[in-house]
Amino acid sequence: MQVDSTRLLDAPLIEVAGEIDHGNASLLTAAFESTIDEGADIVLLDLSDVTYLDSGGISAILAAVRHLRDRGWLGAINPNANVRRLLEIVGLSVDNGFRVFADRTEAEKALGESSES
């Protein structure tokens, strides 16, 4: 797994590639924690190149969602069909601190709407 931190418009964007599991999810947790410590209300997570995710990674995502829920949200970009299905099974698709976007353009649009309001 590889984790990179960059930005999309004003929001921190975490790009992950590879397989997220119990053995390496702490890297994802660390990336979330540093963006949240910097005061971000909205965090984006590009899952385009994530081929596998288990409850190790889901726990990291849930912890980030819990921190962001009251002031913003976590936006997952382009999860593959299996990853998206797993996020639904664990209930994230109905969590108001979590959003899924088909691509970066959709995410940018949501960032724009959030900054207007």
Binding site: E19, D21, H22, G23, D54, I58, R66, V90
Partner: protein
């Protein structure tokens, strides 16, 4: 398992370490190819096997204790059996404190699989079976 139907099996024994989870998934890929699983079902199985193995790694206690994984091929179903040498135990107070981010493994296994079975091995140890129907 049905005694009338002898099943073929593929085995993997690895050290109980988080770093071996990727190898375990490659083994599930191999088994899934042999069983001609759809890619969606293979993904579910990989997650369920990972959860069972992550638990076994966390609770098997002894360093580098071996983790035994066996895939049984039946005509109508595929069964993964994950055996470790630790007793089944409840999460301690520290674990319970990690509000809402732990405790996903067992519900996820039950939700993804057609059948989940947790057995105490007589003499100590835990065996988890994960079943996917092939029909």
């Amino acid at each position: 398992m049905n005694a009338a139907e002898p099943a073929r099996c593929m085995r993997l024994t690895v050290d109980a370490e988080p770093a071996r989870l990727a190898d375990i998934r490659r083994f599930v890929d191999e088994v899934g190819t042999v069983a001609a699983l759809r890619s969606e079902r293979l993904f579910d199985l990989k997650v369920a096997v990972s959860e069972a193995c992550a638990n076994a790694v966390e609770h098997s206690g002894g360093n580098h204790a071996p983790l035994h994984i066996c895939a049984w091929f039946h005509s109508d179903r595929l069964i993964f059996e994950i055996s470790d040498s630790g007793d089944f135990r409840l999460p301690g107070a520290e674990r319970r404190g990690q509000a809402g981010t732990r405790g996903l493994g067992l519900p996820l296994m039950a939700a993804l699989m057609d059948e989940l079975r947790i057995q105490k091995t007589p003499g100590g140890g835990t065996s988890v079976s994960l079943c996917v129907r092939l029909t």
